[in-house]
């Protein structure tokens, strides 16, 4: 009499083979399950991408609005700036807002800017006229001080020599220039009121909460959909499962088969869903904001992070959805599974 041993645990490769063969014959059913994952992840990804695009776009809009506001502030001090000259003392590289201001000055048809200090990257022909430090104020309606650096304490008289009006406007808050005798100093930077800031952050938080809620609901629907599709698959394959158990498959093996299938679905579906989500969000926002602006707002870093997040979420969701169907399949008693009728 031979002793009864324990059935050997099979390597995952056997389970994988069974899964691949099953998918080949049941391609239609597999695609339906896949669609569930694709749609859920595409939704998630399009919301995340949309947020990135909206942030980028609104930042751009904010910058331009700031530039306009600064200009109107300046105009209030020195009068209309069309066809006049302005002197610019650049203390260092310009930030984005200051760049927008320069662009705004140009579009408002300021005659020229007499520029001293480091030139910005996109120095536009004869609009920006590089001059020496002392000659910057010649014929200027006002002096603009901008850029990243410390303002010199002295030499202002020389700079203002020959200016139409003795006005010095700064784009940033600079302590040292607040007191100059006989000179009107103006700061163009806006002072953010505390309640303004609070309203902004509160509005952003509400938006995040709303979108978070929608995302959770849609992912829940995805999980339920996958679970349903897999349960149907288990019911359909009850005979096959019973046969395999008769041939000596362990319950663990049956569970592995279904989990591997779910992982595969999750991965492929998330991948496709990611791509669809990004393309859809970009296309939708391009309609309102234009392709150029949208593409400029898409930062590769954020996209990569969101993609990895969505991919992981998709695989995890698919595996979670498969837990119940896999346990139903593994608990099948071979005798029940082999009856001629269900």
């Amino acid at each position: 009499m031979s002793t009864i041993q324990n059935q050997v645990r099979l390597p995952l490769s056997v389970a994988f083979d069974v899964v691949m063969q099953g998918l080949r014959i049941r391609l239609g059913r597999a695609i339906v399950t896949l669609m569930g994952v694709v749609l859920g992840i595409a939704f998630l990804m399009s919301i995340l991408t949309g947020q990135t695009i909206r942030q980028g776009v609104s930042r751009e809009a904010d910058l331009r609005a700031e530039g306009k506001r600064m200009l109107s502030f300046l105009t209030a001090e020195v009068g209309p700036v069309e066809r006049r000259t302005l002197g610019v003392v650049a203390l260092g590289p310009l930030n984005e807002m200051e760049q927008r201001l320069v662009g705004e000055l140009r579009s408002r048809k300021v005659a020229r800017l007499r520029w001293t200090g480091p030139l910005p990257e996109r120095a536009a022909g004869d609009f920006l006229q590089p001059v020496g430090d002392a000659a910057v104020g010649q014929g200027a309606a006002a002096l603009l001080v901008m850029g990243d650096g410390t303002a010199p304490d002295a030499g202002w008289e020389a700079r203002l020599a020959g200016a139409e009006q003795r006005v010095v406007a700064t784009t940033r808050r600079l302590q040292s220039l607040s007191v100059l005798p006989g000179v009107v100093t103006v700061c163009l930077e806006r002072e953010w009121q505390p309640d303004e800031v609070a309203t902004r952050t509160a509005a952003a938080q509400r938006l995040r909460f709303r979108t978070g809620w929608i995302i959770v609901i849609s992912l829940l629907v995805t999980v339920i959909g996958i679970c349903n599709a897999m349960l149907m698959s288990v019911t359909e394959r009850f005979r096959e499962i019973g046969t395999m158990k008769c041939l000596g498959a362990l319950s663990q093996f049956v569970r592995e088969v279904f989990f591997i299938e779910a992982c595969l679905m999750g991965f492929i579906g998330s991948f496709a869903g990611c791509l669809f989500g990004i393309v859809f969000a970009a296309a939708a926002y391009s309609v309102s904001f234009g392709v150029g602006l949208v593409l400029a707002s898409l930062s590769p870093g954020a996209l990569l992070l969101h993609s990895v997040l969505s991919l992981t979420a998709g695989v995890i969701l698919a595996v979670v959805a498969a837990i119940y169907p896999a346990s139903v399949a593994s608990r099948m008693v071979p005798a029940t599974a082999l009856r001629s009728t269900i």
């Binding site: 009864i4 324990n6 005979r239 008769c246 362990l250 071979p334």
Partner: protein
């Protein structure tokens, strides 16, 4: 069809014991199904001894507990009470790992509806139980091809079940049941879906296996041709075994036969 004795010796190691030994023993087996408040007594105390190398047929009307008894002695389900010994091991004491081993190595199954895996070819179907037994794929392929030739399917190993006739599918199923050189073959109405001629070929094959390889064959059947070739026939009715006889002692023409 001629069988290569030498190769068969490698396939089916001799038991080494002379004389008949009891390979399956069921003692007062009872099975009750409970569905809500309703209790169904499928088996009410069945007792049989089945000997090695025997070709046994079990007969009974539907609802008589035939399938349930079959499942018990085939290790597919456990009895509610009573004992089933397969090769002198009480299956009630086996956990699911050990039962799986039993189904893999000791028992081969042949079903009325063939139950071949449709997505795999004939060869892969036969190789599947071998991979569950841990056989590596080269050896498995050779052994599978050999068994397929044995049952007369050597010329169609790469066809899927859908491309085979009923008789050929049943041959494939028989080949699969032989994959791990089992001691017992359990056949549930194997000829029910086959025409008369193919059925006869199948029965001939079973007899050959019994003669040449010493395999014990237990079948549940209504097929007269099968019954006539058996060593012993059991009648089961209402959950109990009511009669056991040799075919020579039975009058197959009698009106109350069934």
């Amino acid at each position: 069809m001629p069988l290569d004795q030498h190769k068969l010796g490698a396939l089916f190691p001799a038991s080494g014991e002379a004389g008949r030994r009891c390979i399956i023993r069921a003692v007062d087996v009872r099975k009750t199904y409970r569905m809500g408040a309703v209790e169904t007594h499928a088996l009410r105390g069945a007792t049989i001894d089945i000997y090695q190398g025997e070709y046994l047929s079990i007969m009974g009307p539907s609802g008589s507990g035939k399938s349930t008894l079959f499942n018990m002695i085939g290790g597919l389900a456990k009895p509610t009470s009573g004992k089933v010994y397969i090769d002198q091991v009480d299956i009630a004491h086996l956990d699911h790992n050990e039962l799986a081993w039993l189904r893999c190595r000791k028992i081969g199954y042949v079903f009325q509806t063939y139950n071949l895996i449709q997505v795999m070819t004939c060869l892969e179907n036969v190789m599947l139980p071998m991979s569950f037994a841990g056989l590596d794929s080269e050896e498995a392929r050779d052994k599978a091809m050999y068994i397929l030739k044995l049952v007369g399917l050597g010329h169609r190993p790469l066809h899927k079940p859908a491309e085979l006739s009923g008789g050929q599918q049943q041959r494939c199923a028989l080949a699969r049941s032989l994959a791990n050189s089992p001691d017992i073959i359990l056949a549930d109405e194997p000829t029910a879906n086959l025409d008369m001629h193919t059925g006869e070929e199948m029965i001939e094959l079973f007899a050959q296996l019994r003669d040449e390889l010493g395999v014990t064959i237990i079948s549940a059947t209504h097929d007269l041709k099968m019954l006539k070739r058996s060593d012993r026939i059991l009648w089961i009715e209402d959950g109990r075994i009511v009669r056991a006889a040799k075919p020579s002692d039975v009058d197959f023409g009698a009106g109350d036969f069934h």
